[in-house]
Symmetry: C2
DNA sequence: CCTTATGGATTACACTTGTAATACATTTAA
DNA sequence: TTAAATGTATTACAAGTGTAATCCATAAGG
């Protein structure tokens, strides 16, 4: 899988939200969170293109960038490898950590319950 | 928080399991999984000491290394920052990803249910 | 005692990453 | 029509990382 660095990820997030975008659009979209020079963002765009994470179409002189890898795929793979690395592949201990730090709210718990219900439903089908 | 690289983390895991250990013990313990030269492991030990992640006592000529940061603390912090970076701080979507890939087993679900039960119990106390 | 092996310390070196600056080719404005 | 602005491409440069090799002191073996 393509390696995307932290800084690059921020750029990907923008383009996962809205695409295609010109370099300037991306710079602007990042403006709120990041304090990056325009040149920095362009470097990141370039690197992402080199890595095959972004593609672009030409729009006159400018480029319009779009993601070549799906957000879902990327996040799944990252989760898998993170949980593998840190928790030997088990996700429950990670959630336990959140729980222990009071980082779970009612929404999270609601969603988790739903996931569990779905999972159990699934088991019955087998 | 101290930054620990991937390779360094493998060394930490060994010492979190058993401590203190000599450099050679660590090399040996890693032997199964990693195909690292002894010199490589010693470099990693050195870097971890520089970073303040490991300490050591002298045992004659050799050093006996031990962790200076707690496994729990480290993993909590890593989880927090990972989930922040990838899932905007919400843990449920991560679990959903695992669910969608059939990466949840009965054990995981059992543990999650328990966590939820504990969480709900906690709410009542407030 | 002298040589060799062994432990840690220092050095190496290419690649990635964060963070731009500079160069170069065109548009566009004056 | 010429200078300034603007887009991309190339170059920069230090810090971190993976992966060792070399150096140096000393302990241990012969």
């Amino acid at each position: 899988m393509i390696e995307i660095s932290n800084a690059e990820l921020s750029v990907m997030q923008v383009l996962w939200q809205r695409q295609p975008l010109s370099a300037n659009d991306v710079v602007e979209a990042l403006g709120n969170d990041k304090d990056w020079h325009e040149k920095t963002v362009k470097t990141l765009l370039n690197r992402l293109v080199s890595k095959g994470a972004l593609g672009f179409d030409k729009d006159g002189r400018a480029y319009l960038y779009y993601p070549l890898i799906a957000e879902q795929d990327y996040k799944l793979e990252q989760s898998r490898s993170f949980v593998e690395r840190i928790f030997a592949g088990r996700v429950a201990p990670l959630v336990a950590g959140f729980a222990s730090q009071n980082k779970l709210n009612a929404d999270d718990v609601q969603q988790l319950k739903q996931l569990i219900a779905d999972w159990e439903q699934e088991q019955h089908h087998d």
